[in-house]
Symmetry: C2
Subunit: 137 residues, 2 copies
């Protein structure tokens, strides 16, 4: 698993089309194609082949919580993002792991962006030290 | 080397402070702390330990040129970005490699963002297929 955790002044994403790659992907139904948030902790998450859900999910959750504490914000966006690795997990596994991440962060009421789509994406990231954090597990 | 190449409707970056990590970093002098661009190809570039300049630079340059052709835009921003890998090259090597990349793309007159600083960063990315491309060499 690889992740970029960003402290964003503004965030938005809007589904523009459903993905047809990688092979086998079954995009979710779109319940909310447009997401907008301010002062948000945005985790771009790439699930990799071989990731152990019982290891990577708690570790990333810990890092998200730490970013929330450090910035004193608790609006969390979880963005499935297939662009931090060249060794992706299969789509079913990726979705399962990202959903588990959302579940164990439920006290923060995170918003999970749509899985299985191309999106317009706005990341307006603060410039303080530690506003962007790369993590791999 | 790892890179994210993004087709951005809007891009801006603004230096907020000079970096003091990793150890040994010598930030450049700031000639232009604020960059703004529209319809730009933005390459976020992370140089890794062991990267061979004669291999990684031409390969990434080829990918940047391909993105320019595919999108029919030729405004290129090269952004040193230490957040795509946990195995970074030393700062001197990173700067040398990123500058070489700028040099061999000189016909496109790329803008290289400041090396060695925290920055506010705005990435407003289009939602078409292939608007974000991850590459590793």
């Amino acid at each position: 698993m690889k992740a970029l955790i960003c402290h964003c002044r503004n965030y938005s994403s809007e589904v523009t089309r459903l993905s047809d790659t990688p092979i086998g992907i079954v995009p979710e139904a779109i319940s909310e194609g447009l997401l907008i948030a301010n002062d948000a902790i945005v985790a771009l998450v790439t699930v990799e082949r071989g990731d152990n859900i019982d290891i990577v999910v708690p570790r990333l959750a810990t890092e998200v919580r730490k970013m929330c504490r450090d910035t004193r914000h608790r609006r969390v966006i979880l963005l499935p993002f297939a662009h931090l690795s060249g060794d992706l997990a299969d789509p079913d596994t990726s979705l399962t792991i990202i959903q588990r991440l959302a579940d164990i962060l439920c006290d923060l009421q995170p918003t999970r962006a749509h899985f299985g789509s191309d999106k317009k994406l706005l990341l307006d990231i603060y410039g303080h030290k530690g506003s962007v954090r790369f993590r791999q597990f």
